[in-house]
Amino acid sequence: MSNQFLFSLISGIFIGGAAGYLGSLMLTKRMALVGDALGHVALPGMGLALLFGLDVSFGAFLFLLLGIFLIWLFEIKTSLPMEALVGVVFVASLAIGFLIVPEPELLEALFGDISKVSFEMAIVSIIFSILIFLMINRIYPKMILANISDDLAKSEGIKIKKQNFIYLLSIAAIVALGVKIVGSLLVGALVIIPAATARNLSKNLKEYSLGSVVLGILSCLFGSLLFKVTYLPAGPLIILTSTFFFLISLILKR
């Protein structure tokens, strides 16, 4: 096993675990498709990063912050539902991204490429994944209560706006990391499929959140190993592995 592959594998495992964990919150908040939309928002940022020789996650993160800010701004300015605004921003980003991303790198940006992860990138990914994990862990019970009922959470003195801000920041960060592994088209699946699978298999919150983490890790692990054997693109293999677990969970559903 080459060192490079080891870096990819370890980055994938950490990012996959954190993504699965966050996904378990997103699913209970009925925000399953937000990861998908934000993946597209990341595309222009990835294109610029590639043009200037920077890390794609860095460019993606900046554009995600911009995208979230725009959606928030539009929401204040109009009375359109959030979904419509996310739709506008995400399709516009896709169009801009398609124009900006240099053609040779377009496939990489859309579907990810783990063969370029360096030692430094791996370290950065691991540190950020752990930070995101800890951040989500902190807000988890409060977010769950807010997802069940805003009123109940407020009556307990929970500052919902602050929690939501941390939560959105975590999503932006995880999407920025995830696009490196599976690309902007598939990052939504990286976040949400492990949670959907865990939901089928769990009877309480502990099993559900832990299961989402473990399934996120296993998907990245086995997907990357399949890549090593087949030489097919890793992004789609990781997502298909994740989907395979989901199908099994349908059979085992409790």
Binding site: I144, N147, I148, S149, K203, N204, L205
Partner: protein
């Protein structure tokens, strides 16, 4: 504020998104009282409870007795079934000790083994009791109840009211109860507030005359009388 008064509301106005929901409400709640809040759909009953909890903006005065703890039982929680969660984990969201949750379960008449059950698998009666129990965490002196009967069959309703009465005596609770059900008002209430955006009546249940009620509910009054018999 007088010593035995728990809540004092004066000239309360609530406006949400440009629409006036509550207008010029004034009332008091004394310790150990059961105040029922009565009114048709859309009268602003739930809004009143939420305003009293401090989660909606308002004008006027709401004064709670210093240091008073409030428990809140919401009308329904439609999204709770989206979260796979055991009863114990639901209580854990409030950082409750094992000892307290066992004591509360005793109070609301449920067995300990319900803690490991999934919330989504509870019957509506059990779920209602769990919500009441959840509100009791931290030993509040006041309970705010929003339409505790929605979606529960008659015998279930009966027992929730008995439970309320039992809890009130056991824990010396003051209760604010939103309801549609007049029989509850006659049975439980020490005071009654009729609400249809404005306050239409306020006083002891026996002062609830049929003129008052038809003013409150319009033509529906016969139906309510019937359900009381």
């Amino acid at each position: 504020m007088e010593k035995d008064i728990v809540l004092k509301v004066e000239n309360l106005d609530v406006e949400l998104e440009g629409e006036r929901i509550l207008e010029n409400l004034s009332f008091e709640v004394k310790e150990g009282e059961v105040l029922t809040i009565l009114g048709p759909n859309g009268a602003g009953k739930t809004v009143l409870l939420k305003t009293l909890l401090g989660i909606l903006p308002y004008q006027g005065e709401i004064e709670w007795k210093k240091g008073v703890k409030i428990g809140y039982v919401p009308q329904r929680l439609p999204f709770i079934k989206d979260v796979p969660m055991s009863v114990k984990e639901f209580f854990d969201l409030k950082n409750v000790s094992g000892k307290e949750s066992e004591e509360i379960l005793g109070s609301i008449g449920l067995e300990k083994d319900i803690l490991e059950k999934k919330i989504g698998d509870l019957s509506s009666g059990q779920f209602q009791r769990i919500l009441v129990g959840w509100a009791l965490v931290g030993n509040p002196q006041v309970l705010l109840f929003d339409e505790p009967m929605t979606g529960i069959d008659i015998s279930g309703q009966e027992s929730v009211y008995n439970l309320l009465e039992k809890l009130r005596k056991e824990r010396n609770l003051t209760i604010l109860l939103v309801t549609h059900d007049l029989s509850i008002v006659y049975k439980l209430a020490t005071n009654c507030l009729c609400l249809n955006k404005k306050m239409l009546c306020y006083g002891a249940p026996k002062e609830l005359t049929s003129e008052r009620l038809s003013q409150l509910y319009g033509g529906k009054i016969k139906f309510y009388r019937h359900s009381h018999e």
